[in-house]
């Protein structure tokens, strides 16, 4: 009897990169972690690195006259900055050594501004394992909420991390 796709799928499942203790983390949340203060000099350095020259990020007066009413934080500023509470701090035990970012979605509920202290909390929303030609890929879907001092959620980031 020849090997069928079903046989291969079962074989693949036997070599899953996702151990049982990883599946148990789906739905769990970490954080809020330590706050990160959005310092003006770090925002300026960040903007210079990406070549951002919109005065709203540099000039207090221009920012006050803008729709923001103050200097906004660049949306991508916090994505990889936290030491706790964010997606990078969420340890999911996998039989995988490689990690790349697959997708990001940023939803702004209230603009975060220079001077704000922000905390992150992250939920592992889903794990999907898919088998392709180059082997198994694991898609980790996280949702990180960025909170201001009053515990109001100012931004939501949905990230898919691909592991193999």
């Amino acid at each position: 009897m020849s090997e069928t796709a079903g046989d291969r799928a079962r074989e693949g499942a036997g070599a899953s990169l996702v151990p049982p203790e990883a599946w148990e983390l789906v739905g769990q949340q970490i954080g809020p972690g330590n706050p990160v203060v959005v310092h003006a000099n770090e925002v300026e350095r960040f903007c210079k690195v990406i070549g951002e020259d919109n005065p709203i990020f540099f000039d207090e007066e221009a920012a006050r006259a803008s729709v923001y009413g103050g200097r906004p934080m660049p949306l991508t500023f916090p994505l990889t900055r936290f030491d706790s509470g964010d997606e990078r701090s969420f340890h999911v035990p996998l039989h995988a050594t490689r990690r790349v970012r697959g997708e990001d979605e940023l939803i702004v509920l209230r603009p975060i501004k220079v001077g704000d202290a922000v905390r992150a909390r992250t939920r592992l929303v889903d794990i999907q394992e898919k088998t392709g030609r180059s082997g198994s890929l694991v898609f980790l879907k996280f949702e990180t909420e960025y909170l201001l001092d009053d515990d109001e959620v100012a931004m939501i980031v949905r990230t898919t991390i691909v592991r193999r």
Partner: protein, 139 residues
């Protein structure tokens, strides 16, 4: 620019990318996965070279939008899929197009499709954004 359906955002061209640019992003964003700055490590991971960070490309798409929004509009949502790798030497073009727009309450809401493409012809980011502009002030 006019945030009307069909309007194209004038592309933003960045590059050629260098390892130094990736290291500068690594430090400024605290984005320390060594695949972005350690070539030997990247090659051990079967990558062609150090690769550009996804959020760096996302940040450049935000820069493109902010250039057009000026002081009068803000990004309400931005969503991207990283569909390919960019490496040192690549010249990247970031662009977009207004797909839909609606006016309400003195504001215009627009849905913009977004892309990043490198000089090798690969589209390495695909996405979309929702922006909100105060009516009568854009341009």
């Amino acid at each position: 620019m006019d945030w009307k359906p069909g309007a194209e955002l004038p592309p933003l061209v960045v590059g050629p990318m260098t390892t130094e640019m990736l290291v500068r992003w690594t430090a400024a964003a605290e984005d320390y996965n060594p695949i972005h700055y350690d070539q030997a490590f990247a090659k051990e991971q079967a990558l062609p070279d150090v690769i550009m960070h996804g959020p760096y490309k996302l940040a450049l798409l935000c820069r493109l939008l902010h250039r057009e929004l000026g002081a009068h509009g803000w990004i309400r949502r931005i969503q991207v899929r990283y569909t390919g790798m960019d490496v040192p030497g690549d010249v990247l073009e970031f662009g977009g197009r207004v797909e839909r727009a609606e006016d309400a309450g003195g504001e215009r809401w627009a849905l913009v499709s977004l892309y990043a493409r490198n000089g090798r012809g690969a589209t390495t980011v695909q996405g979309e954004a929702e922006v909100v502009i105060r009516i009568g002030e854009s341009g």
